[in-house]
Amino acid sequence: MSKAQIMNGNELISEAALVAGCRFYSGYPITPSSEIPEHLSKRMPEVGGVFIQFEDEIASAMAAVGASYAGYKSMTASSGPGISLKQEAIGLACMMELPLVVVNVMRGGPSTGLPTRVSQADVMQARWGTHGDHMIIAVAPETLLETYTETIRAFNMAEKYRTPVYILTDAVLAHLNGRVELPDPSELEIIDRTQPSVSPEEFNPYDVEKFGVVPPLPNKENFPKYRFHMTGLNKDKTGFPTVNKEAVEADEERMITKITDNIKDIESFEYYKMDDADLVVFAYGTNAAAARVAIDEARESGIKVGMFRPITLWPFPEKQVAELGKTFNKTIVTEINLGQMLYEVERVTQGNTEISTVLQASGVPIRPQQILDKIKEVS
């Protein structure tokens, strides 16, 4: 039986992480994400996990990578300025193919920006923040309950695909206190990294030929038994560096396709009131809540408008958005930044739909009325 509780977004991420099996958190204080380390500093020792506040953002991200190597499910959280500093560790997790969950409670920028205010201006940073070719998974919940369930899904995907996964929230969702009825943990699917079926002597951490595109990785119980090497250099199946051009190219491609080939499993999106719609709004994260209210009001005045809401932002839902482009003459893109996912929508719809925007980077949420005005203007 679920019971109504009051929690804010940051607390929900923390509790969901514990339910997902996270037993290592390392962080550094930064607004508006600080309630995550505050909550976990209390809770992590209670469940026998590790909590450390590090000397800086870089160390906290690197420690989370180290813990993942050592078999632990690990998480670090921050906001834009801290996420900028964590990028090298996120790249290392991509290259070492280590599960990692990174929370970015977005606050905008560049630089210090508006520390206590709302933004969605780090969505492109999530995709391209670290250097080098790579693929990333990022989810953007809209509601408190979804913050909880998407956190669990983030851990599951990190484990299943041995990759960093971003949870992108914002200052509103982080500090929003509201009623949530959490699912019973026994009803949730929790995925753990696949364990090696071979002896420690035969184990290679990137043995694709033997194990498929996402090879097993020892968990915390098995880690002491399995000795292996990992490096940030381009590696071969044994984990040791290589400059063999065929091996490097194949590895670079596999690190991307292990995610893109499994898009069906990773993607998540919502079509809202789209059945009879002749105008579509593209919105995500907390801003989708404003769009939802605007759509409901527009429909009261007879405008047939719906919403496409990606929950998994990366990889971008290319197929679905391309289809929207073919179906709708007009699309409204709204986001709390000056136009970032807009580039993706434009790229994918290839001029098939006329795009108008409701964008804002002033530190305050876009209001339903602003989106409603745009709906009325273009319909």
């Binding site: 020792p45 590790v50 690197m62 290392l92 000795r227 090497h229 490096t231």
Partner: protein, 271 residues
């Protein structure tokens, strides 16, 4: 009694990637000999390195190994030690890695007094990137980014570690490998943050720019510049200028070790 190094090395990864005559091999040998004397099993040892010539050592030893990022060995080692307190966790990195880009992590790992053995291969230079000056390059000497001589004062790693709170600090050099091995061995046995400043020769990147291109000559220079703690006690500050004091420079068995403190915290939280 001689050590069977093949027990500890990934023999198929040899020969070493380092320049002929490089001190890295001497430091690595000292470490492996110390481990052998302690009878530690490879499966109980975790070795973490950053980036640089010496950091490639993790590729050669048959322990649990992770070759991380420039300056970041210590946060990774700290995490692994917290996850598996029963393992022996060693970091092996250069002077630039440990005290410049990794300087913040170094002082904070010392402060926590977490049970790591931190071996700093201190060859006064960034070797891999081409001989740029590091925080340990002696003032006045040349580097690829100090063609007229380095104007930066250099760190004393031992003073830095002591000020930051490490509880075992020793310095030895590749000129006296047995003493180096003994210092590492004591560091490995110490419960708490152990820092070994292992003075080493980079005759290619530092030496050739400073008339010490011959490894033997450079090792002799290192020998000349080191004085034992006992001798140093009788010397004036003027006589000690430019010298490196060797031996066990600091040992504290009172300060609480970090994984122990965390264990107590967990017990408190669970009761």
């Amino acid at each position: 009694m001689s050590t069977d190094y093949s027990k500890y090395l990934r023999m198929e990864k040899l020969p070493l990637y380092w320049c002929p005559g490089c001190g890295n091999g001497t430091v690595l040998k000292a470490m492996i000999t110390a481990i052998d004397e302690l009878g530690w099993k490879p499966e109980d040892i975790m070795m973490v390195s950053g980036i640089g010539c010496s950091s490639r050592a993790t590729g050669y030893v048959d322990f649990h190994t992770i070759h991380t990022l420039h300056g970041r060995a210590l946060p990774v080692a700290t995490a692994i030690k917290m996850c598996h307190p029963g393992m022996h966790v060693i970091t092996f990195s250069g002077d630039g890695d440990s005290t410049a880009i990794g300087g913040n992590h170094f002082i904070h790992a010392c402060r926590r007094n977490i049970d790591l053995t931190v071996i700093i291969v201190d060859n006064w230079i960034y070797g891999m990137t081409g001989g740029q000056y590091s925080p340990l390059t002696p003032t006045g000497t040349k580097a690829s980014t100090a063609p007229r001589g380095n104007i930066d004062p250099n760190f004393d790693i031992a003073d830095l570690a002591k000020g930051a709170g490490a509880t075992f600090i020793a310095r030895e050099s590749v000129a006296e490998p047995i003493k180096l091995k003994n210092a590492i061995k004591k560091g490995l046995q110490h419960k708490g943050m152990s820092v070994i400043d292992a003075l080493s020769n980079c005759h290619i990147q530092w030496g050739r720019r400073n008339k010490y291109g011959d490894p033997v000559k450079l090792v002799d220079l290192i020998k000349e510049k080191t004085v034992t703690k006992t001798k140093a006690a009788k010397m004036t500050p003027e006589e000690l200028a430019g010298k490196y004091v060797t031996g066990i420079l600091h040992e504290d068995t009172i300060k609480k070790e970090y994984t122990e403190a965390y264990k107590e915290l967990v017990e408190k939280a669970q009761n």
